[in-house]
Symmetry: C2
Subunit: 241 residues, 2 copies
């Protein structure tokens, strides 16, 4: 059975069959959540951890003036807030952007997991470090690239991340994101996101229709924004000592 979590962690650590079985068991009790539902809200006392098995979710912070910034996209296989039990208050919210399959783990089961399964723990740490790296790259994206590069960069990143969990076919992947959500990801206005999207389309760099994104010429799109995937740390799991 397909499980993006296992697939992902297998890249980051070196799991054995027992580990895979453990992870598989973890994911047994998933639930379907419709789009636009908050999984956690800023200010909440965090009680549980979420794994996203299918769909799409986002971390965001809303500002008093109504603006908001999405600080992370959570794709299948992403394990959110592994360690959040340490802090007593959520400083951001998580929302589903599409109908999603979610696993919720209690704090206790996470503790149990990390105590009993060192390789899984290692892989989870790896994964949270990668998330941090993505966060930094997004900051560079917003701070130092113009709208066109920013958007192209995002599409390249998602291509790689989704490829990593087997959700890309023929350089095409699901992208069920509203233009105004896209704007909140990139630090733009929805109007400008729309125009940027059209510019990319006009250049034949992307095709986006029916919530699916197709990249006709991946190297060209990567070149367009100077995309360098090394921050995703997905390279051969070589030299882990």
């Amino acid at each position: 059975m397909f499980n993006p979590l296992i697939r992902k962690l297998d890249v980051g650590g070196e799991l054995n069959d027992a580990d895979r079985a453990t992870l598989h068991a973890l994911c047994e009790h998933s639930r379907l959540v419709e789009a636009d539902q908050d999984l956690t809200r800023e200010g909440d006392r965090p009680e549980s951890v979420h794994i996203i098995l299918d769909g799409l979710a986002a971390r965001y912070k809303a500002m008093p003036n109504g603006k908001r910034q999405i600080t992370a996209l959570l794709v299948p296989g992403d394990f959110c807030d592994l360690h959040v039990a340490i802090l007593s208050r959520m400083d951001h919210s998580i929302v589903t952007l599409a109908p999603s399959t979610i696993v919720r783990l209690s704090r206790a089961s996470v503790l149990e997991l990390t105590h009993r399964h060192p390789r899984i723990t290692h892989a989870l740490w790896w994964s949270s470090l990668v998330d941090e790296g993505i966060l930094r790259e997004w900051m560079v994206n917003i701070g130092r690239r113009d709208a066109e590069e920013r958007m192209a960069h995002l599409f390249c990143e998602l291509l790689v991340r989704l490829q990593n969990v087997g959700l890309v076919e023929n350089d095409t992947y699901a992208f069920p994101v509203t233009q105004s959500e896209l704007a909140d990801i990139l630090g733009l206005t929805s109007v400008h996101a729309n125009r940027t999207l059209q510019t990319l389309r006009a250049q034949g760099l992307i095709e986006l229709a029916k919530r699916r994104l197709h990249i006709p010429d991946v190297p060209r799109l990567k070149a367009h924004c100077n995309f360098d995937a090394s921050y995703l740390h997905l390279v051969p799991r070589d030299s882990q000592p």
Copy 2:
């Protein structure tokens, strides 16, 4: 003897005297590093962890076109890259912005530390979660605030963080940052950083001279940018179960 690391971690965890002694011993072999020295460079294989005891450092990513974005400021007491040994390649660099006192720990000593001292480990996790929260807030800052609010927000954040380690006197703290570095922090140009700085000065919101920043009316500056410190998680270490 004053030790910002101990002071900081004491907020995040609950240390006992033995823990404090351990941390104190850790910091015995510090070295003085002059300004503008890279402690780590993107692409390096990370071998050690840094603690900054005095001075100021920054995490940054440099782009091929010469632009760069600073993604974090490291102030005294900050423990950088606790877990970095898990990844095999640094995806960013760290540079001193001022002459600084730095402790370098080998990977082995970090492992030993985390294995032997659960409360310290807990505090270090807490600290790295706070760092992540700061990262997210910076993203909001760059993505959704204009230059003036951005800069004001940064100054408010530093006030709180430095207060936390006892480095603020009379609402004044050391700010040995070049305007072009400031620009790299905020995602602006140095020219515009200069102008923004002057706007803030003209409104009497800040006074910056001789590398020291004074905030005449803290509540007013906070109000100016809607500063809410809760993302720094410095509140009473209450309900940690």
